[in-house]
Every structure is written in C-alpha cells, then in structure tokens.
Symmetry: C2
Subunit: 256 residues, 2 copies
C-alpha cells in the first residue's frame, strides 16, 4: 500500500511471538491481533511480526534485529516457570546483561502464592529479569511482565497479555493513530480493481485495502481505507462508494 | 526446547504472511496454523514465520532471508487482482527475474470467467508469475498459486490456501513427521516444572512443552511431548503421568 502521509513522526513497533506451540500448529495465536489493535490505539504501528521457536539463538536474532529498527519491541510467550520458558535468558543475552531476581517481583510472587501453597524456587523463576529491567503489572496471575529499554516482555496466555497491555495503556509515546473506514459490496474485486487504484491515487494520505470473501455462494469484498485523518479516510471511502454506484453496485457502510 | 534427535535430515520451512490487514489487527490470521499443521504431516518443520506489510522491500527482505536458510518457503496473501496485491512483483524482484503471464494460468482464468462476465485485463493480473514459475492448482476460485524454485506462493483467503495445500500434498520431500502425545492435569505448572525438566532430560529425542490454562476458576496445564518416534513420545509421556501420580495429580490422556 502507499503508506499514509503524515506530518508527525510515525512510531513503529515489532512483535516477536515465542513458542513451539504456534509453529507446530497446536495453538492458534491470539496475541498478534490483540497487540496490533492495542498498538494502533496508542498511535503506534505494528510493522513486523516474527514467530520463533523456543530456541535461544532464534529469539536473540529476532529481538536484536527488530529492537534496533523500531521504537518498541514486544514479545509474547516463554516467561513461565518451566524448562521451555527461556525468553528472559535469551533477551538478557541479546542485551549483554545478567539475569537477576527483581525484588518487587519476588514480593509480588511471595504474596500471590501465600494462599496458594507458598512460594518455591521454581515459582521464583518468574521473578527473574534481565538486569536493569522494570516490571509490567499482571493483575491476573501474579507473575509480572518485564520492561527493559524499548523491549516489553509479555505472557503467552492471551488473557494475561491483555491485562499487561491494559497496564501499559497511555504509558507509551506514539503519534497519530490510523483510523479506518470500511465499505462492503457484493462485487468481485477484479471488477473494481481499476476504480480502487484510481481513487487511492486521487486521495493522498489514504491507503485502500481490498479484502475479498465468498459467502452464500456469492463473491464480495470489503474495502478498508486507512489514514491518520478521519475526514480524509471518509472522503476517500465516499469516492469508492460513488464509483461503485456508477457501476451498479450498492455499497454497505461498515462492511459486509 | 531440546530439538528432538533424529537419524535423518530435518526438513525445514518458513512462512511469510503478507498483509496490512493482519498487522492492523483487522483480520485474525488463520494461515499460520493450517500451514504449520499441513507441513508437519509432510514431515517438514515450520521453523519461522514473519508477518510483513504490503510493502515491496519488506516482502523482499523476508523472502530473501528465509528462502536461503530453509528447504521450503511459503507465502500467503497479496496475489489477487487489486493494487495492494504486490507479492508476485516483489518475489520476482527478489529472484532477479521478470514477471510474465503464465499461458496455463491465462487459460484457466479465461475458462473460469467465461460464465462470470468474461476475462479482463484486471482479472488476467492473476495470471502473472515470476518468469520460470509453475502453477499450484486452485479448485475454488480460478486464480492459481505459484511455485518457483523452493518458494510456494499461496492465497490470503484461508479456504483457498487450504485447497492449494491439498494440491501439494505428497509432492514435497520431507523427513520423519513429528508426532505429539498430550497429557493434561489440574496442576499449576510451577508445581511440576522440576518433574518436566527431569523427565525431558531422561528421554533423549523428546521435547516437552508445557501449556498452562485457567478454567472454571482453577489452574491446569497440558504437557505435550514431541518426537519423531511415537514409542519414545509415549514412554516420555508415561513418565510424566507417573511423576504426576506420585505427587497426587491425576492426569488425562489427550489433554484437558
């Protein structure tokens, strides 16, 4: 797409999803979508995602590349207490720092497990952080997330990650959020491709995405206009609607 | 995880998911899971996934890196007829070849659109391939997938990609598929982490993944043992079950 024009700096983020369970097909990832949607509200664009296995070198390569070229880097997965949870060690190695028990995390876990069988050495593994890190609160299950530099280390369980994102809301500097306006029509995208191309060219600052579907035996598509300015996006979407009408297609605001 | 030992070559694949709609959070990706599961049946391991925007340089970087270090590279998305479909051009540029209309694809599209309003220049965009490419059949909607060298270019719509994978079944050389045996228990993983670590160490060729959950107000976890040999995986899983029983936890074969 033509990236929307903007007067202000575009803030970017990348996400590294860590876990054999995603790469084996066992688990359907839910974190990409929720991190993407949350970032957009913060005015930060998710520009790349990598899914890597529970292998230290793979984590380090992804973290090193993506933290250097983005304002923020998020990770999900691999911060539990078991042997396959190696995210903290990998990121510490990527940063060239040691791993320490964060005193606040030790307190949090000690309190959390007071009524749940008591804290153990294994449970205190979840207090380990790269040296110099701060904590991200986790209201759901005790073990906190971790923030170090521009890296945000979060849980693999989507509901826990949701709570961590909630705790970070409004904390990160961002730019203008992208807004989107969606229009649906029972039109084959191959019949309107030229229209979309022309309308996008005539509306600087807007990018149009075309997402076809097959339903009830018919083809249709949703046309999503994205921009940092709502009035530009609306004007662009109105042009698509007018062009569709001129070809005899009714369009549905908000999409089909 | 400790990668399972195996006597034979391990065949690997990477996947590049192309599309602004995934990175904006608008669309929940379904292709990672289905490609991963299909690859595993072919005896090929998905070792890395990247999600990139509809931006030529981003696609080229991912394709170039991943095709060089894996036996196979798959892409999904960006092969429709609209202006935001730039996958074919990006991959041709990555390979240093031109883009041509594949004669068989032209035939397929001409026949497909015979009863659907006729073929047009826009629709023939879907016959464009990197020079030297072969086609991957698409029984669902006419426009074929594309195979060139070790790269397999597939649709973004999951149902269409499913048909393309079906057409490729048995066509790709692979090694021993990974099998997995799952055991569930209402145990906090922090109470059994030491057990899992010990059992994995005692069972070479097996990797144990631990996947916690919160349900009905209780914590539990599924323990997935992966190996290229079913009897090894079963023996390893049986050791986990015995260890859990010794600690007073019932376990459920197949997972909870």
């Amino acid at each position: 797409m033509a990236l929307p024009m903007t007067q202000s700096k575009i803030w970017t983020a990348a996400l590294v999803v860590i876990g054999d369970e995603i790469l084996s097909g066992r688990t359907q990832d839910r974190n990409i979508t929720q991190v993407a949607a949350w970032l957009n509200v913060q005015g930060i664009r998710l520009v790349e995602v990598r899914v890597v296995p529970d292998v230290e070198d793979a984590i380090i390569e992804a973290v090193d590349t993506l933290r250097a070229r983005n304002d923020y880097l998020f990770t999900t997965g691999g911060i539990g207490p078991t042997h396959d949870d190696i995210t903290v060690d990998a990121i510490a190695r990527a940063l060239g720092v040691g791993v320490v028990h964060h005193p606040d995390a030790v307190d949090i876990l000690t309190r959390y497990y007071e009524t749940r069988g008591g804290v153990t050495e294994t449970r205190l593994r979840m207090a380990r952080v790269p040296e110099g890190a701060d904590l991200i609160p986790n209201r759901m299950s005790g073990a906190p997330g971790i923030r170090i530099g521009n890296i945000f280390i979060m849980a693999g369980v989507p509901a826990i990650t949701a709570g961590m994102l909630d705790a970070l809301t409004g904390e990160l500097e961002g730019g203008d959020p992208l807004v989107s306006v969606t229009l649906g029509a029972w039109a084959a995208e191959s019949e309107v491709a030229d229209l979309l191309r022309t309308v996008e060219r005539d509306h600087p600052g807007c990018a149009i995405g075309s997402y076809p579907f097959f339903r009830e035996g018919r083809v249709g598509a949703n046309f999503v206009t994205r921009s940092t300015e709502l009035d530009r996006a609306q004007a662009c979407s109105a042009s698509i609607a007018a062009g569709l009408a001129a070809r005899g297609y009714e369009s549905v605001e908000g999409g089909i």
